[in-house]
């Protein structure tokens, strides 16, 4: 659906995007993660036809974005990281205006606007002036706006920034709904755990380079070469610890209250071996959970490796 090839963007001598390659498959949610100034916004603006790259190619649904930006725009819904609203428009007029700017007929766009307001849960605000909405509502309205022309690819630049946890959860729910509707979504964030839950795959960008790309699990595996499981036992904590330490794949065991955090190398097969060893020794295991890993830490590692390399 989205293919980015050797994308380069220079601001003067400064390389904001450095030979970036990535691919997002249709119907997937791709998390575009990176620290401040990594080049996320720059890349997304380029994909959204709002910025000319220095070199490289972006193909959206078979359309070369730079050769045919007008056609590409029909496929792309872009939500910028910072955006404003016109102060003299009502919510439904706001959507109506952008609908007309996308060349949608009056009747049709009125219908679409109602559906979209329903989707983002702003139906009861449709007669409110846009500038009276709260930040979270504006963000949802902007999300509705970028859906108005029924694009297939959504480019959302930090859609949940500055929102409270509940509002984040709402946005996530909307994104899941959009995924169900078959949309492909590119979403940026500088917090990996925040989007990890909804993303099918993520790419971590740092200083204009895509450092890693893959599913969240793959990235954790590749970056740390280990899996973390949390094990809770009913009793016999000490016996469990000594048993675990004997296992070859286990690299560390940390006791945390009634739980054990066990780091181990290897695949799911090894995990099963581990569990079997515990159970067959009559350790009363009540919970055995594979952790998503400490994403925050991985993120820090990934983005600081580069620093050391430089």
């Amino acid at each position: 659906m989205l293919v980015v090839r050797d994308l380069v963007k220079k601001y003067g001598d400064f390389l904001a995007v450095d030979h970036l390659n990535m691919e997002v498959e249709r119907g997937q949610i791709f998390g575009f993660i990176g620290p401040n100034g990594a080049g996320k916004t720059t890349t997304m603006k380029i994909i959204a036809t709002l910025l000319a790259p220095t070199s490289g190619r972006v193909v959206v649904d078979g359309i070369d974005v730079f050769k045919d930006p007008i056609k590409a725009r029909e496929k792309i819904g872009y939500m910028p990281d910072f955006f404003g609203v016109y102060d003299n428009l009502k919510v439904k007029e706001y959507l109506d205006f952008y609908g007309s700017a996308y060349g949608i007929e009056y009747r049709e766009r009125r219908k679409i606007a109602e559906d979209l307001l329903e989707l983002v849960d702003l139906s009861d605000k449709k007669d409110a002036y846009v500038d009276t909405l709260s930040r979270g509502m504006k963000q949802r309205l902007c999300l509705a706006r970028c859906l108005i022309h029924n694009p297939e690819l959504l480019i959302l630049d930090e859609p949940a920034s500055g929102m409270d946890p509940r509002a984040r959860a709402e946005i996530k729910a909307i994104l899941k709904e959009l995924k169900r509707m078959g949309k492909t979504i590119l979403i940026s964030s500088h917090i990996l755990p925040e989007v990890a839950e909804i993303c099918d795959s993520v790419g971590i960008i740092d200083r204009g380079k895509l450092v890693v790309q893959g599913s969240v699990e793959q990235i954790i595996q590749r970056m740390t070469g280990r899996t973390v499981v949390r094990i809770r036992v009913l009793r016999d904590m000490d016996r469990a610890i000594s048993l675990l330490k004997e296992q070859p794949m286990v690299t560390s065991v940390i006791q945390e209250d009634q739980e054990l955090e066990v780091a181990c190398k290897g695949s799911d097969e090894d995990l099963w071996q581990l569990l079997r060893a515990l159970v067959s020794s009559d350790v009363p295991v009540v919970s055995f959970r594979k952790m998503e890993g400490n994403l925050e830490q991985i993120f820090m590692e990934v983005t600081s490796d580069e620093e050391m390399a430089l």
């Binding site: 603006k45 959204a48 036809t49 709002l50 910025l51 000319a52 730079f66 050769k67 045919d68 930006p69 007008i70 056609k71 725009r73 029909e74 792309i76 872009y78 910028p80 910072f82 955006f83 404003g84 609203v85 016109y86 003299n88 428009l89 007029e93 109506d96 205006f97 952008y98 007309s100 700017a101 996308y102 060349g103 706006r145 022309h149």
Partner: protein
């Protein structure tokens, strides 16, 4: 055809602009200022006996003077209002961070620019129309026909178009509305002064070189100044220049030059105000295209559809 004419930016602004008290207040303030200045003008004129001295006996002449005063006053007000209306349209979109949202729609940069300009011109047109009752005073005296007023209003629109496109160009060029507004006023003031001074100088040089001038010479620089066109238009409408003080002031060069022989090229044969309208409209079109070029996302890359 209808779809082609439809401009979302214009449609939205027409719809929302008339809402609330702001536009109504602006029109009221505009008419208030115009009435106030007109009143002061008459008071001073009557007190100084200027009106009387200038053959006030003739009702036609009095009507003419009222007309000329109102015409110049409204022209000045349009010159003042138009930059304020246009110099922020793109830069404020940038400041509000809505320009990108607009640029990634199906609207082309040029149609965005045109929509913005037409919205501003619609407001100016509203001001002009609201001044019709004031102008109809003139008909009481006679001497000016409705078609003269219509012609004058047309010239106003052309002037607003030209001045507005300068404002839009700067607002596309500069990031901040304040900067673009200031630069627009400075440019208009500068062009107005420089064109007249330079034009007068070129004429004096031209005629001093020819001992007994018989040709009709208008320096091209004068064509960029709508005040010159206004002077010509009003002079034509007022008829006999010798009975008209106003004509003596602004139409000085043209009165002189017109009395000297017949015009040379086809362009100079056109009435000056029409030539002037054509030149400023042409410049305006160029500025609008330049503005569209400035705001389009792809500057170097080819982006034909």
């Amino acid at each position: 055809m209808k779809r082609w004419l439809y401009n979302p930016v214009l449609a939205s602004s027409l719809k929302t602009r008339m809402r609330g008290w702001r536009t109504a207040a602006a029109v009221t303030a505009y008419l208030g200022v115009m009435l106030f200045i007109a009143y002061i003008f008459f008071k001073i004129s009557v007190e100084n006996g200027v009106m009387y001295y200038l053959s006030f006996s003739s009702s036609r002449s009095a009507g003419l003077r009222v007309y000329l005063m109102l015409a110049v006053l409204q022209f000045a007000l349009i010159l003042l209002v138009t930059p304020a209306q246009t110099a922020g349209v793109i830069s404020s979109e940038r400041e509000m961070q809505t320009l990108d949202l607009l640029l990634c729609t199906k609207m082309s940069p040029l149609s965005i620019i045109i929509g913005k300009l037409l919205s501003s011109l619609a407001f100016i047109l509203l001001l002009i129309i609201s001044s019709i009752p004031l102008f109809s005073l003139v008909f009481l005296f006679g001497g000016i026909a409705p078609e003269d007023v219509a012609m004058l209003f047309l010239f106003y629109i052309i002037t607003a178009f030209a001045v507005g496109s300068i404002g839009i160009f700067y607002s596309a060029l500069f990031k901040r509305t304040v900067v673009s507004t200031v630069v627009t006023y400075i440019t208009i003031f500068f062009l107005g002064i420089v064109s007249v001074v330079l034009g007068a100088y070129m004429m004096s040089v031209h005629y001093s070189q020819v001992p007994s001038p018989t040709d009709h010479y208008i320096p091209f620089i004068l064509y960029i100044n709508p005040a010159v066109g206004l002077g010509d238009l009003l002079a034509r409408q007022a008829g006999d220049p010798t009975t008209n003080v106003y004509y003596g002031i602004l139409g000085l060069f043209f009165g002189v030059s017109r009395s000297l022989g017949s015009p040379q090229g086809w362009f100079q044969k056109l009435p000056l105000w029409i030539g002037n309208s054509a030149v400023i409209s042409g410049i305006a079109v160029l500025l609008l295209c330049a503005s569209a070029w400035v705001i389009r996302p792809y500057k170097r890359l080819r982006c034909k559809s």
